[in-house]
Each structure stands twice: as structure tokens, then as C-alpha cells.
Symmetry: C2
Subunit: 345 residues, 2 copies
DNA sequence: CTCTTGCCTGCATGCGCATGCAATGTTAGG
DNA sequence: CCTAACATTGCATGCGCATGCAGGCAAGAG
């Protein structure tokens, strides 16, 4: 009956202890291995009494189905690769992701991308593990995106959009958010704008910057000075230092994210010895936690992170079930978060 | 020859596209599947010309070995479960981990634990995926630790120690760090100490608190007032508010971590309208990034996170290779980080 | 009472790869 | 030139589970 001896004491060894397999449970329950398998698979028919006996045997032996073996046959790993950039990634992001994944029986394989060259390694790894999908909060090289598409691995981008290729994405309306900020600053009388951008390689940064700049132009304002940051606190301080050296001191600084806005505020207060927002207004973008701290109380645009992540996971799982589904972009509006870092109208 | 038709166009399907297997590569290269397998396994002998032909065929087909199938036979998944607490976890932690894992060909399965009840789910999942080891930066219930030990899954704790069971751990010397802080504060003339602890359930918090309290007592100081926080900014503010209501206003506040110290500083400055450190000194513990921001410049004890994580991974991999290895504790000294949030002697 | 359905169940097999074993070719030593 | 030792290679098999298929059984229809 048995295809092999289940008591050879060698197979299934792991550092000395045998692992319990469905065969062991089957034997103890006096049923076939298939019955055990069916018992742990949803949507299969097992009689109540059989199920009970199997469950009892399983509990007695401490049996847990081997997800690895399972995914070998089902071609579903229940693993989702999450790719984030090392620098300045949102700490709440992974926590939220993990929580939402758990409720969907998905597991999170985390990759961080320090440099673009790492993309090779990451894409290889996630392919080798046959992840069901990829959720990327960072830019991925075109070639790799195409490769994943060819292999039919669904990919959803979080706050990364590509204008030249069709990819699934969930993002926050950057342009709209910046428009809100500029409008309010303008209404309060600000006319000398400065912008602290993120790196040029970041499309989100470019969108936010052009969103702000375009609105300023539309309102008839002067072309703002731009300093380039790197999305970090130190980058924000350095950018502010650069702006301070300019001939015409700005009265409103628009930062491409909250971390840099915080850096700017510290630079303004501690080095330039000016008051925020009396002497200079500062606004950010993101809704990061430290921006809400009392010392900063940033005026910013809060991204609905939870909603966005939930939407991303939904998009992803839908495409895991149906890989042919059309690519889609979902854009959520942010929420104006009014603090005291800017004089507003 | 072939055990099955590799061209049936059905097996290996994934949403329509066939996946490339070692059989396909073997066929194209005119060798056996074993040769392909050996070619992708280190420590096996394949002649240079065979290897070249196989590699060429593999590249042409875009073949990547299936890690799932591999781990089914090797009983090594190259997956390490990382368990972190949702609240107040160190964002740099996961980034550093991910980076160090990549250099060791390990992959990171991330789990976050909101509530202790989730431990069941998490331990089940990581067991089902047959992870090679577990790295936990949060507390795990005794029962689960024992279960993992019985299953011979190596576990290493980061900054969590257990005094009643033998577990592997890497931590920072909390007591020593607090002693340094207290000594310096004492030398500067502080005598009215207050302590902001973390939750009672946190052993790290208890160690830090008793480290500080014991040193104060040893120096002959009065018993400090204690307010309980939750390791968050808001928790720190609330705790400081509670301390401010006490009859005897402290001149030095010792916080169990940096986030709460930041909260305390904001509360002192913004609500109590006092100066830090002129009117009150504040110290933290961790070396968190925001603590180094100009507005706070926390005096704290920096934990050597990189070194600790590296040590943890080393401990873990050593035990993956040799599960019988004795349990071990490695304690690293922190580094006194002097800011301007405290008057020091 | 017989035949048809439908529900459970076991059997056999495959998922993609690693590996022990045997067979082959290769080279060195005598 | 012959034999031993070695380096490669292929074959067969198993890892643990899911699933198509067919057999068995009970209930319902005629």
C-alpha cells in the first residue's frame, strides 16, 4: 500500500527529528494520504467523521501541511514579494502590509533595493521563489518589469507610475495635492516660493515638483528656486542651506516630502535663526508621523496609506487569480493636513 | 528516456505560459536533467564544456531553478522568518536585515505581531514554510518557543532575553547604558530623577528602568517617580504630563527609549513652557534617527544595531548548519551618544 | 426491486529538483 | 600496453502534497 516505508527514520530528517507528513497522519487515522490532503484543502469533500478522525490524528502528531510541497503542485506559493527602497521608506508601510497580508493568508517576502543594480538579484530571487505577485514601492528597471510581465508575475506599484509602459499602480494624486498647498499659500499672500525636490530619478518627486511649479505659474507667480534633496532629513537641511544662500530669500518652501520639510524647519530655526511660519512657511507631503509631532506640526498632504495598500493588495490578488486582467491605475486623493508650519489663507 | 513528455503544454502551466524546467534546459543542451541540476548546485563536478553548454541553454530559455522544488528535496528553504512587533519597531532594522540577508543568500519572510494572540498564526505560518530559522525582535510566548525548539527550528532573539528558559539572544547591555546615563546626570548635579518606562510586559523596558533605578539608589539618590509609556511619541508626552503633575518636579527625566524622550521634550517645551536642558534634562535610549535631529539632539545610548544584527544572523546560520549547538547570549555595549538634551557633568 | 445519481474514498501519478549509484570515459602509473 | 584511480554523466528515485480517475456505497427515482 505505502509507496515507501514511512518509518525508515531517515527521510524527512531535519537535524535528527523526523518531520510529520500527511502519510503519518493518514496511517494513524487509518485513511489514505489523499484523505488527509483533502482534509486540509478547502473546497473538497470529506465526510464529517473522517475529518474528525484525521484532525485528531493531526493534532496528536503535531502535523502542519508543508507549504513548500503544496505550492510545488498547486503552483501557488501564497508568497508576495514586497520591494522597497532602503532609503527613506515608510516604516508604517511594511507594518500595514504585513497586517493586511495576514488577513488574506499571504506571506510577505521582503526585499530592499539599495542600488538599482540590486534589481537583478531581487527579481531573480522572487522569481525563483515563484511568488504569486510583486508589490513594489520603488522603481524597477524597465527590463525587469517586462521580464516579470513575460513570466506572468503580476506587479503592482505603489506610488510609482510609468508613463511609457502599462503597469498596475496605486498612487496618490500628487499634482492635486500640490495644487491645494500652493493655492492656500498663495491665498495667504506668499509670492516668493522655493521648492525642495527629491532626486531627479524619482518620478513621484518630479510629479510633485511640477505640480507645484505649474500651479505657481498658473497663478502668475515667479519661477521658484529649486534645491535638490534626497528625501531625508539631512538632505532637507542641506537643500534649505542652499536656498538660504540664494539672493532672494523665499517666504514659502514647498518640500517633496515630509522628512525634508522637517529638515528645512530645523535649518531655518537653528541655523537661519528665523521663525516658522512667521518668517517662512514650510509645507511637505506624505503625512509622515514625525510631521505631526508638536515641534513641527507640518502642513502637508496626507496620503491614505491604508486605503492605498488595501487597494494594491486587491489589485494584486485579482491578477493572481486572473493573470489576463487588464492593467489598471488607481489614483486616490490625499487629504490636506493643516498644521502650523505655514501661514495659510 | 524522458519520464514524461515535456511538451504536453499542460504541466507547468501558469496562467497560460509554460514555466521552464531543468528538463527543458537538459533537452536543449543535450544532457540529462541531473547535469543541469548539478550545474546549478555548488560543490558538484561538471566539466567546463558541459557547464558552458548548459548555461547557454539556460540563458536562452530564461531558466531559473525553482527554489520551492529545490527546498523540497534539500530541506533547506533559505528562508528566515523575521518577527517584529508592529508598534514602535525600528524601521532601520528591517532594512539592515534585508541587506545582510541578501549577502548571505537568505530571504526574509516578514511577520509582524500586533497582539500576542497572533503568535499562533505566525508560528504556524513560519513552520509551514519550513523556514531555516527565526529572528525575533519581539517577545514570543513560552509555549511557542518550546514548540519551535522541539521542531528544531533555531531561534535568535534580538534585544529580548528570557531569564527562565535558554534561548539564543543578541542584545545591548541595557543596565550598563543606564548606569552611564545616571552617572553623568548625577555628576552634573541632578538629584530629582524621574523615569518614563515602557510597558511592563517589555523586559527590555524593565531592564532599563531597573538599571537606572538601581544606579540612582546606589548613588544614594531618592526613589524616582515612574510614569508608564508605550514606547511611542504620544506615550512619552502623556507620561511627561503625568510627571509634571507630581508634587516634586524632576530635573532629569530618563526615558526607556528615544521616541518617548522626544515626546517628553516636546511636552516640556510646548506645554510646560520650560527649556531643555536648562530647566530639565532628558535622556533616552536606542540611538534612533529622529533623536539626532537638530531640534532634539538627544543624549542617549546608541545600540550598535548593525553589529547586533550581524551577530544574530551569524548565530542563526551557525545553528541552521548545526542544530545541536548550545544556546548562547551575546551582549554588546552601547555607545554613549552625547547631545544637548541634558546637562552633563 | 433495479437503475441512476451523487458523495466519499483510495490509487496512481506528477510537480521540479537533488542525489546515491552504476556506467562511462579519461588519465596516470607500472 | 594493461590496470587502477578518478572525473563525469545518466538513471532512478524520493521529497510531501494535490488531484484526476475509478470504484464503492447509499439514497432517490421509476
Amino acid at each position: 500500500m505505502a509507496r515507501r516505508a514511512t518509518t525508515d527514520g531517515k527521510a524527512g530528517t531535519r537535524g535528527g527529528g523526523r518531520t510529520v507528513t500527511s502519510y503519518d497522519v493518514a496511517q494513524r487515522a487509518g485513511v489514505s494520504q489523499s484523505a488527509v490532503s483533502r482534509c486540509f484543502t478547502t473546497g473538497t469533500s470529506v465526510s464529517p467523521q473522517t475529518r474528525e478522525r484525521i484532525m485528531k490524528a493531526a493534532a496528536a502528531l503535531g502535523y502542519q501541511p508543508n507549504a513548500i510541497a503544496r505550492s510545488l503542485t498547486t503552483k501557488r506559493s501564497n508568497l508576495v514579494a514586497v520591494v522597497v527602497a532602503n532609503l527613506g521608506f515608510n516604516p508604517e508601510l511594511t507594518a500595514t502590509l504585513s497586517r493586511l497580508f495576514a488577513s488574506r493568508d499571504l506571506n510577505l517576502l521582503l526585499f530592499t533595493l539599495d542600488h538599482e543594480e540590486d534589481a537583478d538579484r531581487v527579481v531573480n530571487q522572487l522569481w525563483q521563489y515563484r511568488v504569486d505577485g510583486v508589490l513594489s514601492a520603488t522603481h524597477l528597471p524597465r527590463g525587469h518589469i517586462e521580464q516579470l510581465a513575460k513570466r506572468r508575475v503580476p506587479v503592482v506599484f505603489l506610488n510609482r507610475v510609468y508613463d511609457d509602459i502599462a503597469v498596475n499602480s496605486v498612487c496618490c494624486d500628487q499634482v492635486e495635492g500640490e495644487r491645494w498647498l500652493v493655492d492656500r499659500l498663495w491665498a495667504a499672500g506668499h509670492r516668493r516660493f522655493a521648492i525642495v525636490s527629491g532626486p531627479d530619478s524619482s518620478l513621484v518627486s518630479r510629479q510633485r515638483v511640477s505640480g507645484a511649479r505649474d500651479r505657481i505659474a498658473a497663478l502668475g507667480g515667479d519661477e521658484p528656486a529649486v534645491a535638490i534633496g534626497d528625501f531625508t532629513y539631512d538632505g532637507g537641511r542641506a537643500a534649505m542651506r542652499a536656498l538660504a544662500a540664494e539672493a532672494r530669500r523665499p517666504d514659502a518652501v514647498i518640500c517633496a516630502n515630509d522628512m525634508m520639510a522637517i529638515g528645512c524647519i530645523d535649518e531655518i530655526r537653528l541655523e537661519m535663526k528665523l521663525k516658522v511660519p512667521k518668517d517662512m512657511s514650510v509645507v511637505g507631503f506624505d503625512g509622515a508621523a514625525p510631521g505631526r509631532w508638536g515641534s513641527y506640526a507640518l502642513t502637508s498632504v496626507r496620503q491614505p496609506v491604508d486605503v492605498m495598500i488595501e487597494a494594491a493588495i486587491d489589485m494584486l490578488t485579482a491578477r493572481v487569480d486572473n493573470p489576463a486582467m487588464a492593467t489598471e491605475k488607481r489614483v486616490f486623493s490625499g487629504e490636506l493636513q493643516i498644521g502650523v508650519s505655514a501661514r495659510l489663507g
